[in-house]
Symmetry: C2
Subunit: 561 residues, 2 copies
């Protein structure tokens, strides 16, 4: 490790979509960029969240001058309350709305008094140790998002993530192209950029096109209109409110995070609500169906969110009925397709008209497509570029784009989470790999006790259930004095399977009859106990598989009495 | 139930994609159309397959004159070996290739001698009880597929499923449009049609476009080419073979079902292989990389299929390396996106070039899009129409298409699986609901013991694992004489959680100290045992949730000694 090199470490978000977290380190000083969570995949059974792995920071014990946050999405802020206490509670920097969205999280974890929050502004300049950070505005699917120009002793770094070139955004605050051009003139050493839409040709449409689509839907809807979208997409909510107001409809926010975000955004001035347009759910009954719009959570098919509950007629103030028009203003995140489809099916079953899918222009991404990624590269022309916030294929496709613009393979680094990169003038390489494991949150536990071994057990339990065999043995003679009892869960419906249970018991009895006092001491030695357990486990596993072709987890419990 | 009405019952495939199975019944006579399986969703833990529910047939005891199969896909033939024995083994009718694909299934279940197979041909006419069946050829993603015109005492029924209008198919055998026109002139009473692509505008492209896409890939590939597709898509395999031959490459079939289907299709004359083009995997080493094409299974990201194993460098003859070009010639079936993406990510990691996704014309569907669905309706103009082989939203969208062509709501019936419909001249309605449950196959068990309760247990086990508390009590005094022992799986990593285990044990001990001899008889009554178990369960559940915010399944086991 060279002293006069800038070290850039991914603690999350490289080769994976989610838990974005980067460290810039020079000498003994560091700053952190973003601190997000990732949501678990299907096979991570029972896991609530996945955090960045901060072991590297804990081990290096560098001085952390601050955590700089780009915007208020969960994959950029969600890990703050879990991880700040593990790294000596450095100050957190963010724009007004971003800090507004962070605040309730810190409060929930009783950290509000312990974490210093510093407001930053686009166009400002902030010093943190040897780093100077210049936030500049970018357009994304949440307001008040920024990217960073970061002057380091080794050179200029541009951290440009979760952005698109929207020249006509709903809040009239487009990506700061002049600032990008200015940074480009300063010969950046390195750019880190999101690449999650590297598969998509052309340019991502402006958020403004949604307004026109809403307009055409509102123009013909006869009954209630229900719009589901991401709670953080304040611009989308703004367009619902604007269109509702134009058509003389009242707006109800439904779903906890939608209600919260609308309140926070309104309080901080990021949502313009004409007097009297926003009403409470309980007031809906005072209006005709064609005077109401509901904007709600659940666009990803989440079973406990407002839309799914409406589709199950389980939501207090909104029960779907014929005449309702439901607009799913979001694209399913990969992995959520089936849940989203199920909700849409149920809405149709209840007689609603549903507007969804790629055929209707009711959703646009907040991320840059190929031509935008190329334009950013052309504007900034960094010496090295690191695509992240994408799966590996997105990064590989980004590399192809860069190569097509004259970059060489040496200039485009594809790290994985945990990778350590080093940079100095005319030098940039992946030089090592630090800890970058998946840190699971399950209940209150962070990492630690929910290990991959525990997840493997859950997967095995999920597949064919568990079958416990309990026997009591006399601690002096080793003779079985009670049992075997069989207890199973998730293996078979017991009342319909008495045969298999009885015959398994008989098998165990037979095998235990052959059990001898192996240690010859007259008592049950620990060797004997282990042997007995193994014997029961093998006997039962083999017999059950033979009979059913299933492999429940077999757990022998031998009690010495 | 009226005697002179045709009864049409969905045993599967209505409002769901998969396990297609229909019954046509008149008086005491019936035929079955298709008998397929459905693949389980993520939350159906451990389930291998889902079968149609044939309870209706078993209870009605009508004479089943035959099972008529349209084509050899799993969702049309997969349930035959499981269900034929439950309905007195009626004869199975299918085209040559279809029966060729059914044969190994019957063999595996030792039914080859017990099930009569009757070959049918497009253009033929077959009588089964009061029904006359006229198969006619349709284009689909497997050769030798047919639809049926079925003359019944109540009128003409057209069963048109898994089809598209491909006027230029690879096997030069297009959908029999003249036959559809002829059936249309006979005033069909009813049409049943697949509707899974009702969301897609326009016309599904011809399978022939794939050849051009392959051509452009083969023209520039420098190393090996690996094409993953559905094993049943013989036309796709044909195009791989044709293109390979044109570019002087040998073809290797990899993956069990690909090898089997290629063999069967070749034997039956559905695959034209130029002399010497097909080689065995073991012969690959005799050729240069640019002389080889591998056509393999795994296009859905299945973890044990050839492509995923290649991507994990775990496939004997093909280890992915830089220079390889991998073509994923399939679209992920909803629910498989994440698995497919993972495989593509790994292929990129190993340095392969990967061609996939909607941007490249390397896959077309085998199903009709909106304009084709409308054209079929215009050609046949049935009095009633039932869309199926789609989720409910597809059926609802199909209904909109039909309404736009002048059909009325009464003429478009949307059944669910289990629905019973009745038809006669100028009459068609859903009149009832028979059994239509999800019949799970898990190991060797068909339905029965793997119930929804068992699946719920598996879901609970999957979420937070299981925690067993075992104690032995004296059967005379009720005193605890051994334990409590705690055994857990999938709950926590024990070595990292001795605290929680020890404190839970202590809690149980404390609560058992208060346990009294409730029945006053001096022994442990069954009331006491139940009480003791409940007490342990409640104590542990509450304490563990308080400590960890997790809810493992708590299972108290009390042994009387």
């Amino acid at each position: 490790m060279s002293k006069n090199r800038l070290r850039v470490i991914s603690l999350g978000g490289a080769g994976e979509v989610g838990r974005n977290c980067w460290v810039l380190e020079y000498g003994d000083d560091a700053i952190v960029l973003d601190m997000g969570v990732m949501f678990p995949e299907n096979e991570m059974l029972g896991v609530d969240l996945i955090l960045p792995d901060v072991t590297y920071l804990q081990e290096r014990k560098v001085k952390i001058h601050g955590v700089f946050i780009t915007h208020g999405h969960e994959d950029h802020i969600g890990a703050l309350p879990y991880l700040l206490p593990l790294i000596d509670l450095p100050p957190v920097y963010g724009t007004t709305l971003t800090l507004g969205l962070i605040q309730p999280k810190l409060k929930e974890h009783k950290l509000l008094d312990k974490v210093e929050r510093r407001t930053i502004e686009s166009g400002g300049k902030y010093t943190a140790g040897p780093f100077t950070i210049e936030p500049f505005h970018i357009a994304h699917s949440i307001p008040d998002a920024v990217a960073f120009g970061i002057t380091t002793p080794a050179g200029l770094v541009v951290y440009l993530t979760d952005w698109k070139f929207d020249h006509t955004p709903v809040d009239n605050w487009p990506t700061d192209v002049p600032k990008m051009a200015e940074l480009g003139r300063r010969n950046p050493l390195l750019m880190l950029t999101d690449c999650v839409r590297a598969e998509s040709k052309g340019v991502t449409p402006s958020e403004r096109v949604i307004g026109e689509a809403f307009d055409s839907i509102f123009a013909i809807a006869q009954g209630r209109i229900i719009v589901a979208t991401f709670a953080s997409n304040i611009s989308r909510v703004q367009q619902v409110i604007d269109t509702a107001d134009a058509y003389g409809r009242k707006v109800v926010a439904a779903g906890r995070s939608m209600e919260n975000n609308v309140r926070i955004a309104q309080e901080l001035g990021y949502l313009r609500v004409p007097e009297g347009v926003l009403i409470r759910p309980s007031q809906m009954s005072e209006y005709r169906d064609d005077e109401v719009v509901v904007v709600c959570t659940g666009s990803q098919g989440e079973p406990m969110a407002a839309l799914a509950r409406m589709a199950n007629r389980d939501y207090p103030h909104v029960k779907i009925k014929p005449g309702d028009t439901v607009v799913v203003s979001a694209t399913p995140i990969p992995g959520n397709e089936t849940s989203v489809h199920k909700v849409i099916d149920n809405l149709y079953r209840l007689g609603a008209e549903v507007v969804y899918g790629s055929e209707s222009p009711i959703h646009v991404s907040g991320h840059a497509a190929q031509e935008e990624l190329k334009m950013a590269l052309a504007l900034l022309r960094p010496q090295y570029v690191v695509p992240f916030h994408g799966d590996y294929r997105h990064m590989a496709i980004y590399r192809k784009l860069a190569l097509s613009m004259g970059y060489t393979n040496d200039q485009v680094l594809l790290p994985e989470t945990g990778s350590i990169m080093e940079f100095s003038q005319d030098y940039g390489e992946i030089t090592g790999k630090g800890p970058g494991g998946l840190i699971y949150v399950d209940g209150t536990a962070i990492g630690g006790d929910v290990t991959n071994a525990v997840l493997r057990d859950r997967q095995m339990l999920a597949k064919d259930g568990i079958l416990m065999v309990v026997v009591s043995v006399d601690s002096m003679t080793g003779k079985v004095i009670a049992g075997p009892d069989l207890v199973s869960r998730g293996f078979t419906h017991l009342r319909q399977s008495t045969d298999i249970i009885e015959s398994t018991k008989q098998r165990v009895r037979d095998s235990l009859d052959n059990f001898a006092d192996y240690d010859g001491q007259g008592g049950v030695g620990s060797t004997d106990l282990t042997y007995l357990q193994r014997k029961i486990k093998d006997t039962v596993s083999e017999f059950v598989y033979q009979q059913t072709r299933r492999r429940p987890m077999v757990l022998p419990v031998v009690m010495e009495v």
